[in-house]
């Protein structure tokens, strides 16, 4: 494909690795398997995350099978139910969402959107993926270990997580903790790469305030992750020692089956602090990249500059900072000084301010825009609605007096699934539909995409709206069966059956998506270099899919911010970041 770059770095100094400094693969193995190219690593991360996500999807089906039709199948007993629940939660939060947003989107988009040739430490980047894969394999191994995977719940609270009676107490919990430790080591390698690449390898002219919001989101989320994961690491190591060596970091004096155990004096609350010191920023580790990606999708597909760019940047930074001082709102029922409860409720509610700024700005970007209801745009709009819904129930749960009666009910399940399950996954889908043409050179099938969208979007509401109601009735979460509970009206059973049937249908729709991904690789319509007529640098590469080194002989030069859509006086409705003037040179895009 011909080079149609507009601005390339001639006299300007380049901050990224030069072409001759790049690692060049010499064999098929180093090109496609042990690759140091961030784009290949991104695809590796994404496919691994989607594969393990498929396992989580099947687990959610099994959970819903039990809740909707208790006793229908014999292979789901209480132990299996808890195991499915635990693995579903941990896989979705850590191994799918975190890995896909940062390892997948981060690896692909950071160098390309910033005009760099690659990550600054390509070898470490490669190691990061392989350690992640090892972490996933260790996690999967627990399904085949004696006793099966842990059933301690995704929060892994001690003491029950390592006591006999909890499924997976023998091997499952050990493998889970080992897997988390590996994941954190692998992520740290990748995370340092992402941050340093943003700091040091931007193309000439790419100031921080000319970075797309996608990069701001991924950058800030990575910083959060680098500071949040150490808490999970510490917690995992200490629990592993409690389980394997009999230390008492988290284990109090306890009697099990009439026998006094050797533990004594440990603090389960300490684990909760460590877990949530990681756990709450984790919400924003997932949400901030989603915020950034949605901003870019909306601006591109509404052909309008993002409203309040500067406020959007500050809001991302503010949300990131605040996310470290809210963790104990997950522990209101654990007991704490009332002043602490007041403090954490206040900080929790304050986060609503920068978040609301973002929602208003997305809506104002759409206002009077030239909205193209493409599949990525549908997913982006669906995200705004869903995040708003989930955020509003967060206001309920952030208040101590409301949280206490709702704690451990299905209302909480519905809340966090909306805000950090469905909402970010909608963005992931939107992002994949948006960038798949750049990754593969082919478009995804539009009709299948719309079918996938509508079933997923409407289905998610049909699943989680009823769960809010069921939670308000007081139905507890994590119960294997609720039959016979006096306070649960009979209608809950039929509602649960309805939710389960919808969940099966929504799950099946994801298989349509996977089929679309596979089929379009060979049968998709050729995409060209810039099918969405977008401004950001990844769409201006000389070749599509971008070649190793991304930019050919010279790096691009950035002349403007990434949201010059529908600029008065321009000859097209978009002005690429590397275009010096308003009039396009040639097509202004790669073919």
């Amino acid at each position: 494909m011909a080079d149609a770059q507009l601005g390339t770095a001639g006299p300007f100094p380049t901050s990224g690795p030069d072409e001759d400094e790049l690692y060049h693969p010499r064999s098929w193995l180093t090109h496609y398997v042990f690759s140091q190219d961030a784009k290949i690593i991104a695809v590796q991360y994404s496919t691994t995350a989607l594969a393990i996500g498929l396992v989580a999807l099947v687990l959610s089906w099994l959970i819903r099978l039990q809740l909707g039709f208790p006793g229908l199948v014999s292979f789901i007993g209480p132990a299996e139910y808890y195991q499915f629940l635990t693995m579903h939660g941990m896989i979705m939060v850590v191994y799918l969402l975190t890995a896909l947003f940062l390892g997948g989107f981060g690896n692909y988009l950071i160098p390309l959107m910033l005009g760099a040739r690659d990550m600054v430490f390509p070898y470490v980047n490669m190691l990061s993926y392989w350690i992640y894969l090892l972490a996933v394999l260790v996690l999967v191994a627990s399904f085949f270990a004696p006793g099966g995977p842990t059933g301690a719940g995704w929060t892994l609270y001690p003491p029950q997580a390592i006591l006999a009676g909890t499924p997976g107490q023998e091997w499952g919990i050990v493998l889970m903790l080992l897997s988390l430790i590996l994941f954190i080591i692998g992520f740290t390698m990748g995370g340092v790469n992402y941050v340093v690449t943003v700091l040091q390898a931007r193309a000439p002219g790419m100031t921080l305030m000319r970075m797309p919001l996608t990069i701001w989101g991924i950058f800030t989320a990575t910083v959060l992750a680098l500071l949040a994961f150490p808490a999970l690491f510490v917690g995992a190591v200490m629990m592993l020692l409690d389980r394997l060596l009999g230390t008492s970091f988290f284990m109090p004096a306890i009697i099990e089956a009439g026998q006094r155990l050797k533990y004594g004096g440990g603090s389960p609350i300490l684990f909760q602090h460590l877990f949530w010191f990681f756990g709450h920023p984790e919400v924003y580790i997932v949400a901030l990249p989603a915020f950034g990606i949605v901003s870019d999708l909306i601006s591109t597909h509404a052909r309008k500059n993002i409203f309040g760019y500067r406020m959007m940047v500050w809001a991302i930074v503010a949300i990131g900072a605040l996310s470290f001082v809210v963790w104990a709102h997950h522990m209101y029922v654990s007991g704490m000084n009332p002043y602490f409860g007041f403090f954490f409720a206040t900080t929790t509610l304050i986060i609503a301010i920068p978040t609301a700024i973002k929602v208003y700005n997305w809506v104002l970007t759409l206002w009077r825009g030239d909205i193209h209801l493409t599949v990525p745009m549908l997913f982006a709009i669906a995200f705004i609605v869903t995040f708003l819904n989930g955020g509003l129930t967060g206001l309920f749960l952030g208040n101590v007096v409301v949280d206490v009666p709702l704690s451990d009910t299905m209302f909480v399940v519905a809340h966090f699934h909306m805000v950090m399950g469905v909402a970010p996954i909608l963005v992931i889908f939107g992002g994949i539909y948006h960038w798949y043409p750049k990754v593969t050179g082919r478009m995804l099938d539009e009709r299948l995409g719309r079918l996938h969208f509508w079933v997923t979007f409407l289905g998610a509401y049909a699943i989680f709206f009823p769960l809010h109601y069921i939670g308000l009735l007081g139905v507890p979460r994590r119960y294997f069966e609720i039959e016979g509970l006096g306070f649960v009206p009979p209608s809950v059973a039929s509602l649960n059956a309805f939710v389960s049937i919808v969940a099966f249908i929504v799950g099946a729709a994801q298989l349509v998506f996977l089929a679309n991904l596979a089929r379009s690789l060979t049968h998709g319509a050729p995409a060209g270099g810039n099918p969405w007529r977008a401004t950001t640098l990844e769409w201006q590469t000389p070749r599509t899919p971008p070649a190793h080194g991304n930019w050919g002989d010279a790096l691009p030069v950035v002349y403007r911010w990434p949201y010059d859509y529908s600029v008065p006086g321009a000859d097209r409705d978009f002005v690429p970041q590397n275009q010096p003037g308003l009039a396009g040179a040639g097509t202004g895009t790669a073919p």
Binding site: G205, L227, A231, V234, M238, F249, S267, L274, P580
Partner: protein
């Protein structure tokens, strides 16, 4: 947990200071042109490896701050101190300080083009670090012999966990230091050695600073009162 919050506040302050220099107040929608901003800094930008290492060390610092905070929540201040011979640990600490200083000497020598001085500094740093680790090993043995390691309170377990994680980080550093030393002995010149030694020096400085805090936490030192106040329950 005050130590953790203080640490985060310091990191937040550094981040805010950096962000304040990045012209976040500019209005990019009004600009067009090859804005090669930010303007040239007063001194050359730090090498990517140094920035990456500093980021990694920030995460490592938080790891140990969290461990210290956890220690503060589980082990009451003054409830347990100094089971291993404190003189031994003071000696080991001195060796770690020596290693860190030797790396700075080596970096300075390499910068001046003094290859022999750089190699000598590297060898001293490696030997002193091995001495520190040997001292820690002896302290482990003493503690094991006292029976405190298996006592039901968590103090012994914390001692092992914290010192082991610190030693593990130093061990990783020793691999890098060994590689730099080997390169120097194989004839790599001072220009090639300098950036690598500078990275080692940064790493050793950080691990020495972390150790000084841990030393005050685990043993009775003149600064233990400060550490107790920072690490105690909020």
């Amino acid at each position: 947990m005050s130590l953790v919050l203080l640490y985060l506040a310091v990191l937040g302050g550094l981040a805010a200071r950096w962000l304040s220099r990045q012209r976040l107040g500019e209005k990019p929608w009004l600009e067009a042109g090859p804005g090669l901003a930010p303007p040239p800094p007063d001194r050359p930008a730090a090498p990517a490896a140094q920035v990456g290492l500093a980021l990694f060390l920030a995460a490592v610092g938080l790891l140990f701050a969290l461990l210290a905070g956890a220690h503060g929540m589980r082990v009451p201040a003054g409830a347990w101190r100094v089971l291993p011979d404190p003189r031994l640990v003071w000696l080991a600490t001195g060796l770690l300080v020596l290693a860190s200083a030797a790396l700075h000497v080596a970096a300075g020598a390499a910068r001046r083009g003094d290859g022999a001085g750089a190699r000598a500094g590297l060898l001293v740093a490696g030997a002193a670090t091995l001495g520190f680790l040997a001292g820690q090993g002896l302290a482990w043995r003493q503690l094991w012999g006292s029976g405190a390691a298996t006592a039901p309170d968590a103090a012994g377990a914390f001692f092992y966990l914290i010192t082991a994680l610190h030693a593990l980080h130093l061990g990783g550093g020793l691999v890098a230091l060994g590689s730099v030393t080997a390169a120097g002995l194989r004839g790599l010149g001072p220009d090639g050695l300098h950036p690598r030694i500078a990275l080692c020096a940064l790493y050793w400085d950080a691990l020495m600073a972390i150790w000084l805090v841990l030393f005050g936490l685990l043993f009775r030192t003149p600064w233990s009162g400060w550490i107790d106040a920072l690490c105690g329950p909020a």
